[in-house]
């Protein structure tokens, strides 16, 4: 029945066309970079004190913290588990615990291990409940409230200072003019991209996010993948907490206020599909830079807090709508 043209020859490697296609940035990435370029251009023209290296470094520095957490959250979104609303609370409890341990004179390495352990437990518990079929938004909303309360109890409601610590360099050291958090941010983005493209668990995560039922029918463990996604998200929060404590030598319960929304905004501006399977750490990272640039622009223009929130919200809405329309056109639905 099959005509000669429809008989495939086992491919030795990717064809030239396929290679080109892989190198060519996706439509979403092109749009994203275009949006960022436009924002920088408009800011540079209209804003005094915007287009200089010092301000650029400030932008990247503020993008770093959001970006690290947002890349962590990207795993939950890509795996088809929507999002986590307990990011700032997870970071806060990690920060407070770390500061207390450092304050009490623990070895920094040991304290960091404990924080990592706490993050893993928080991820497994939240991911586990979600894997049982609970709605991730409700679960993390509840977990966030519980963690916020717990953090208050642990810290006694006051800020905790550590004094100079051996991890201070993580927050303040500069290499080639950029501070350490910027490099951590870049490293996290690269590692996350490699993990998703190359690790078995990363590939399983993308498949589960693309079609949960098909992944289960193919014999992949959806619940294990869900737990892994939440663990990676919590680890991202712990990393952000570590950098913050290292930099400011103190921690308190409300240190990360607004982080959840900023991370979410970065993911959405990055064009990830909230239903899963579509998006990338690189795009989330650029989304974080976009949000940071926008924030910088608005601060330089002395926008009020309320106005800044309004503009950021509108930008997220526009981005989400635009990406949705692109996807609908591409899939023809």
């Amino acid at each position: 029945m099959s005509t000669p043209s429809s008989v495939a020859v086992p491919a030795e490697g990717p064809s030239a066309g396929a290679l080109l296609r892989r190198l060519r940035p996706t439509t979403e990435m092109t749009i994203l970079l275009g949006m960022l370029a436009l924002l920088i251009l408009v800011s540079a023209i209209t804003t005094e004190g915007f287009f200089n290296s010092e301000n650029a470094r400030a932008i990247v520095r503020s993008a770093a913290l959001t970006g690290i957490v947002a890349i962590g959250l990207t795993f939950v979104t890509l795996s088809g588990n929507l999002l986590s609303l307990s990011l700032e609370q997870t970071a806060a409890i990690c920060g407070v615990l770390l500061a207390m341990m450092l304050h009490d004179g623990w070895a920094a390495g040991l304290a960091l291990l404990v924080i990592l352990g706490v993050a893993i437990v928080l991820g497994v518990v939240q991911g586990g409940v979600v894997a049982l079929g609970a709605n991730p938004i409700i679960v993390t909303l509840g977990a966030g409230a519980a963690l916020a309360g717990l953090t208050g109890v642990i810290s006694g409601g006051t800020g905790i200072t550590t004094g100079p610590t051996s991890i201070g360099w993580l927050g303040t050291a500069k290499v080639f003019g950029f501070t350490m958090p910027t490099y951590v941010f870049i490293a996290v983005a690269v590692l996350a991209a490699i993990f998703l493209a190359r690790a078995r668990a990363g590939r399983a995560l993308m498949l589960v996010g693309s079609n949960r039922d098909a992944a289960a029918a193919s014999g992949l463990s959806v619940s294990r993948t869900t737990m892994l996604a939440f663990v990676l998200t919590a680890v991202g929060c712990a990393l952000a907490a570590t950098i913050t404590v290292a930099q400011f030598q103190r921690a308190d319960t409300i240190q990360f206020e607004g982080l959840t929304f900023d991370a979410l905004a970065a993911i959405l501006v990055g064009g990830a599909a909230i239903g899963g399977g579509e998006g990338s750490p690189a795009r989330t990272a650029i989304g974080a830079v976009f949000i940071a640039t926008l924030g910088d622009f608005m601060v330089l223009h002395n926008y009020s807090f309320g106005l800044r929130m309004t503009v950021q919200g509108v930008v997220v809405l526009v981005a989400v709508t635009a990406f949705h329309l692109i996807r609908r056109r591409r899939t023809g639905r």
Binding site: M1, V7, A11, R200, A201, A215, A217, S218, G219
Partner: protein, 501 residues
């Protein structure tokens, strides 16, 4: 007496294509007032497209529809409703939290102030005429049986004063007692002067309530026949109408020793435990309508449904634990009937799809090997005649036939001993069908055991070495395909064991 009445509904020269698939290629159809017209045909014969045209769900490409002599547009459901046509489907459109009376007037634009008493009073005539008990009228319909809900569906249609009622397999999900109620209701509605179009796979019902029958085949209609002038076999002959063509490969020359031994398999949808043996190189076809249990048996063997039970042996080794993962490990691959839902990843590339069940094979030591992935995907694509240049395309952009090849072909990567396929060619055009049959036969010839379930009887008769027929959750019989005439095959699945022996 029938000659005196002119047709109330007259359809002529109806054509409709879905993309490259021509579902209707010139169908004529008519119904008289007060008549029950059975509409029959195999899956894919075009009868459901005809129903959709009449109910305004799809717009026709060509042809005319006249009701009461006037040519009508019917391109929207509202236009169809306006013309007095109403469809009672299997997919219930009732709101479970509301009671029967409330559902009857749902969306009917009942105006003015209303309260429960007034609503019950207004709904009473319609609920009376379908025979719903008074006790059931105040309960949320979610608490009622499927049959009672079906009655409320009909009452709802009557409340809109529909004169032409289309019943689309109303009894498919009902018990015997409930079926009797529905058939009785249909008879009374026709006696009231309403016109009934009755679509069914259960031929026995035609003789209980039908006046005439129109048989569809390959998108074309045949002259209506008087039910009184024919019998079950006569209808079956008209439905089949043709010999098997060459789209089916040769059958197995030799069937090897037993490969899969399934004993007393139970699963939701099976009314009694079923045994099944599949030999090396054998293709077993499970024939049955939707809900007959043919698919349920495959799901039970695959360990898919939570309540599945029974013992399995593959190559003489027992399969422990009975879950999907265990089955896969034991070399049992299961391909679902709904590829969009859980058969393919539409937004991932063909290569990613083909390697999904073999993720371990392409990620040695936990790390992805692009070389292995390309090789495996290339091999599987070649086996199933999927063009190599498509490997990087999103799977959702492929044709239905190619998607199905991906959905089945991906399983070959785990090198299964037994391949279970539910509806191997649903929504697949005839060219790709023939290819899929050929590929399945090749796999069997290499020693794999294959079991497929299908409601397409021509497919079962043409492809299988051994046929097992199912009717309402039970096995009717198991026989070599060459010893089972198609007429008996169809009688088994439409009528169960009581006729055709």
């Amino acid at each position: 007496m029938v000659e005196a009445k002119p047709p109330l509904v007259e359809v002529a020269g109806l054509k409709k294509s879905y993309g490259a698939v021509q579902a209707l290629r010139g169908a004529d159809f008519e119904v008289r007032a007060g008549e029950v017209m059975a509409l029959l045909g195999e899956n894919g014969s075009g009868k459901s497209t005809l129903v959709k045209v009449l109910s305004g769900l799809v717009a026709r490409d060509e042809g005319t529809v006249r009701i009461n002599g006037a040519e009508l547009d019917l391109s929207t459901p509202a236009a169809s409703r306006e013309a007095g046509v109403a469809t009672v489907t299997q997919e219930f459109s009732l709101v479970g939290q509301l009671n029967a009376a409330e559902n009857v007037f749902l969306g009917s634009g009942l105006r003015g102030s209303w309260n429960q008493a007034r609503l019950q009073r207004r709904a009473a005539p319609f609920l009376d005429s379908v025979g719903l008990g008074t006790a059931e009228r105040r309960k949320p319909v979610g608490e009622l049986s499927v049959g009672e809900r079906q009655l409320i569906e009909v009452a709802r249609v009557l409340a809109r004063d529909a004169r032409i009622l289309i019943f689309d397999e109303p009894t498919a999900a009902l018990s015997d007692v409930e079926i009797a109620r529905i058939l009785d209701l249909v008879r009374r509605l026709a006696a009231d002067g309403r016109s009934i179009v009755y679509v069914t796979h259960r031929l026995g019902e035609v003789f209980e309530i039908g006046d005439r029958a129109t048989v569809m085949r390959d998108g074309q209609s045949q002259e209506p026949i008087e039910v009184a002038d024919t019998d079950v076999r006569g209808l079956i002959t008209r439905m089949l109408g043709r010999e098997l063509t060459t789209i089916y490969p040769d059958r197995a020359e030799r069937i090897g020793p037993p490969l899969l031994n399934a004993v007393e398999v139970t699963a939701p949808g099976l009314r009694e435990p079923v045994d099944l043996t599949v030999g090396e190189g054998e293709i077993v076809g499970l024939a049955g309508q939707l809900g007959s249990g043919a698919g349920s048996l495959l799901e039970g063997i695959a360990g898919l449904s939570g309540a599945a039970g029974g013992r399995l042996e593959v190559d003489g080794r027992p399969v422990p634990n009975r879950g999907l993962a265990q089955a896969i490990k034991a070399g049992i691959a299961y391909c679902s009937p709904d590829r969009k839902r859980d058969g393919i990843f539409e937004l991932r590339s063909v290569a990613d799809n083909l390697t999904a069940p073999s993720l371990r094979r392409v990620t040695p030591l936990g790390w992805f090997s692009p070389g292995r992935s390309r090789r495996l995907a290339g091999e599987l694509a070649a086996r199933f005649a999927i063009q190599a240049r498509r490997l990087d395309a999103d799977t959702g952009t492929l044709s239905g036939g190619n998607q199905q090849k991906v959905a089945v072909g991906k399983w070959i990567g785990i090198e299964p001993r037994v391949l279970l396929v539910e509806e191997p060619t649903r929504g697949v055009d005839v060219g790709a069908r023939a290819e899929i049959y050929g590929h399945l036969r090749e796999l069997a010839d290499e020693g794999m055991g294959i079991v497929f379930a299908s409601s397409d009887l021509a497919e079962v008769a043409g492809l299988a070495d051994t046929v097992v027929t199912f009717y309402r959750g039970r096995v009717v019989r198991s026989a070599p395909a060459v010893e089972l005439p198609q007429a008996e095959l169809m009688a088994d699945v439409t009528h169960g064991p009581e006729v055709a022996r």
